[in-house]
Amino acid sequence: MRKTVIAILSGISIVLLWFTVASAYRVFSADWRLPQSPARESAEYRLVLITQELDTPFWDRLGMSAREEAEKQGAVLEIWGSYSSDPDEFLKKLEIAIHSRMDGIIVQGLDTDAFRELVKYKAASYGIPVITVGSDVPDSLRRTYVGSNQFLAGQMIAQQLVEDMGTEGTVILLGDSGNAHYQNERLKGIRSILGAYPGIELQYAETSVARDRVIAAMKDLMNRSPDTKAFIAANANLAAAMVQEIGRRSRVEPYFIYSFDDSPDIEMLLRLGHIDGMIEQSPEDMGKLGVSLMLEWLRGEQLPLDSKGYHTEIRMRKANGGP
């Protein structure tokens, strides 16, 4: 009896002591110091990639490959930017990047005076090299341009159109009123091909990217030339609204519709067969090449950079699979 009582009492005290000690251990064993990440060697070069179109598939892919390349070469790359059509925010980011004295800035070209001002004077005065990717602003004194040859892209799309439609018919060409350099190049390319066919009549209109404006412009154009056989959206952001307007009047299939790939909706339109073809660019190549050119320039391995630009691959992709 006595033995049992003693056993029970010691059992209870052991359990209590165990819980107390375990609790004390949990309280006192915790690290008292702020977690110190291993003091990593600060990266040799700090690069920043600034875009106007964060979170679009095109720029995500570009940013991803750029970051990978930077990491591979021992540099740090951050991606900054604004969401679509907020040029003020975009420019502010660019300015902060310049004031922060980045070692190199890779930026999506914006064809405005403010942009030119920043790149031409400010970046230059801080001695920061700027490379444009995706879209070019040639007269901004950027070091170079990495991206598609937009003139060639325009030519390719026009050739495809001729191939599909034949050498006669009305073609509606819709462009962004921003008059960005890359769009002008595309238009030039398209015109250079289509101009050679007298049977093809080209109707060109400019509109802002706002949906209702695009629809209004389309209405006007289609009323004026009801026998249109083909459409080309020189700015991919216009394609969705364009297709919608065509679809409202009749079926989309009989028309030949073409565009470029730098818009989030375009992939879906192609898959649904609403557009017949698009020019596919290589964002991964752009990111990678942009970063490696920047680092080469910074290390003085490649001086000077070709100011005409480095062109990445473009392909024609058709709705029914291969070209």
Partner: protein, 488 residues
Amino acid sequence: MNRIQNKILLLTGIVLFIMATIWMALTFYNRQTQEQYNDILQRYLRMYEVTNASQQTITDLNNYLIQPTPQNLAQLDRSRERLRNAKYDVFSLRNAENDFTLTSYTNLIDSLLDAASRSLMFLSQQEIEQSNQAFNEAARISRSISEVTVTLIDTELKTYDQFYRSIIERSRELNKLGFWLLLTMTYLLILFAYWFSTSITRPVKRLTHAAKELSRGRFDQKIEVTSNDEIAFLAKMFEKMRTNVNNLIREIQQKAQLEHELQQSKLLLQESRYRSLQSQIHPHFLFNTLDTLSKKAFLEGAEETSDLLASVAGLLRYNLKRLDRAVTLYEEVRVLRQYMDIQLARFPDRLSFREEIDESLLYVQIPGLTLQPIVENAVIHAVEPFEEGGTIVFRVADNGDRVKVEIADDGPGIPEEKVVQLLKGGAVETEGHTTGIGISNVVQRLRLFYGLDDVIAIESALHAGTKVVLNIPKVRRHESDDQHIDRG
């Protein structure tokens, strides 16, 4: 001998020690926590300081541009210095996560300071337009700094999120620890206090119990207290007292026993005397008559008769005189011979008596009238009933420190149970004894006299005779200094 005090001191010491330990642990914990909070707050404060200092710089710069007084310039210089210091402070906050942003941050501060300097330079060159431009730039940079500060703080929160949560978790754990500590301490203290109080009260209880037993008169139970404090000492003393009392009581009991035995022997003597008196009516008349008869017989020439009568008279006289005192074996033997003379006269043909006596041993002390009743018994049982008579042998021989006295007959023997009865002293048979003294009376008197149980033995077998053996010590136990010399 200060064990109880030691125990109390020990208990107090343990409690104090535990409390001090807990207090120290909690103090340590509090200090660590405070330091931790300070570290964390410092990080945020340093970042905030940059924002603050940059805004202050812009304000002061603006003031100076509007009113270029030396006071404003001094103010501006102070705030620029402050911004520079803030920049250095912020350097130490670098870690892997905020490395990039922090570099940008410090570069922004540099740019701000540059722009401010530029603005001042242009002002001094009277180029107001450019000075204002530089000021605007500085203001924009200052706004950027504010934004980046927010980004940094955001990063900070993300980086240390887990850590902050662990702090909260730990304070929860501390509450739990307090609970467990309270429970454990209460439990252990209750146990310890119980053990402690029992260790004091248990010996006291035992002592109380022992005292109760003693007061009831039970002195034979040992008092045992196993603890090693004052109570144990008390118990030891108590035990000693008990042993002493016990010994005294035993002594008293022994004395009482002796007294009782003495009383008994006196009673036996009185009884013997009474019986002998009873059987001796008018002894003096009888003596005188017997003497007269003896003399008359002598005068008439009947010498044998005269001797016989003298023996009878001597026997009777001895009987009367010697019953209550110690005599020598010699006297006893003399009386025995007188008695045997009488008996031989009675049974001249049937009784044969033989003596084998070592005369040198006859000095030993022996109670009076011991041998005669035994021999008489032999005559009564082994000679009288038989036509052909019997032989009685009487021997006195040396047997080491004893004198061996044997009375043997060749009669029918005594049954075993009777022998046992005789030796126990239970049997009372007075039939036909001259002196009225039976064997059992002799047995008891012998035992009382010598204080020895084996002083008498009876060897008997049916039809093989009876042998009564007395083993008389040469020196009497109690009165060894009484008399050594043979009185003969």
